[in-house]
């Protein structure tokens, strides 16, 4: 996953009052780093409303469905230390995904594999420096 995650795509101290705000923050970041075009954000929000991207271990994986708005495969990691209510679940880490083709399936499998180890999931959730995040997701 390291190839698609750069240091500037990691934010460790964000705040979001709602799930929508959190998804928008992730989408904005993907646009800022040049991985997606503006319309991708709206698609991420739409996807999230259709069915929650919560996967467990306080982690959600917002992503859009309009692949044509993806400029290159990338992920971003946004930490919300205060937590965000996600349809009754608490989310403290979002992994935003921009992927063309089937690339996201392999990415998701890789991420899920990591989160299946509770201690690695916790290390990610509680990371206070970018290096820790990059190391955990290497």
């Amino acid at each position: 996953m390291r190839e698609v995650l750069e240091a500037r795509a990691v934010l460790l101290n964000e705040h979001a009052a709602t799930r929508e705000e959190a998804v928008e923050r992730c989408g904005r970041l993907l646009v800022e780093i040049g991985a997606a075009a503006e319309p991708y954000i709206a698609s991420m929000l739409e996807r999230e409303r259709s069915i929650s991207t919560y996967v467990g271990e306080q982690v959600a994986i917002p992503h859009g469905l309009n692949r044509e708005a993806v400029l290159r495969d990338a992920v971003c990691v946004v930490r919300f230390p205060g937590g965000v209510d996600w349809e009754g679940e608490r989310v403290s880490l979002c992994v935003g995904i921009a992927a063309r083709g089937d690339g996201h399936v392999a990415l998701l499998a890789e991420l899920a594999e990591i989160l299946l180890y509770p201690e690695r999931a916790r290390a990610l959730r509680e990371a206070v420096d970018v290096e820790t995040v990059l190391k955990e997701l290497a």
Binding site: S43, E46, R47, R49, S50, I51, S52, T53, V55, G56, E57, I61, H63, L65, N66, R67, D102, H104, V105, A106, L108, A109, E110, L111, A112, E113, L115, L116
Partner: protein
């Protein structure tokens, strides 16, 4: 233990949306069912992270195992259905 083998029919594979529907059904059935790809490690069918970790794309053959054959059949039927079929042109639609 009884087993069933089926190819994943959903266009987007067994990831976020189809995976969630599959996991929800496994939870609803409430009996232990494991799922694996080939000879790889099996994971509980009711674990979202476990199911996502399989990395199954459309056409990937998965094996379900469990004592409750009716539950296996129900889950096989779900996997054999294109769960993305109610979305058009990649656009999500509220259910």
């Amino acid at each position: 233990m009884p087993e069933r083998t089926v190819a994943v029919a959903s266009r987007s594979g067994l990831h976020a949306r189809p995976a969630k529907l599959f996991v929800q059904e496994a939870m609803r059935l409430g009996v232990p069912v494991k799922i694996r790809v080939g000879d790889r490690k099996q994971v509980p069918a009711n674990s979202m992270l476990g199911v996502l970790s399989l990395g199954a794309v459309q056409g990937t053959v998965v094996t379900l195992s469990g004592e409750d054959e009716a539950a296996l059949d129900a889950l096989v039927a779900l996997l054999a259905t294109d769960l993305d079929a109610d979305t058009e042109q990649g656009e999500a639609r509220d259910e």
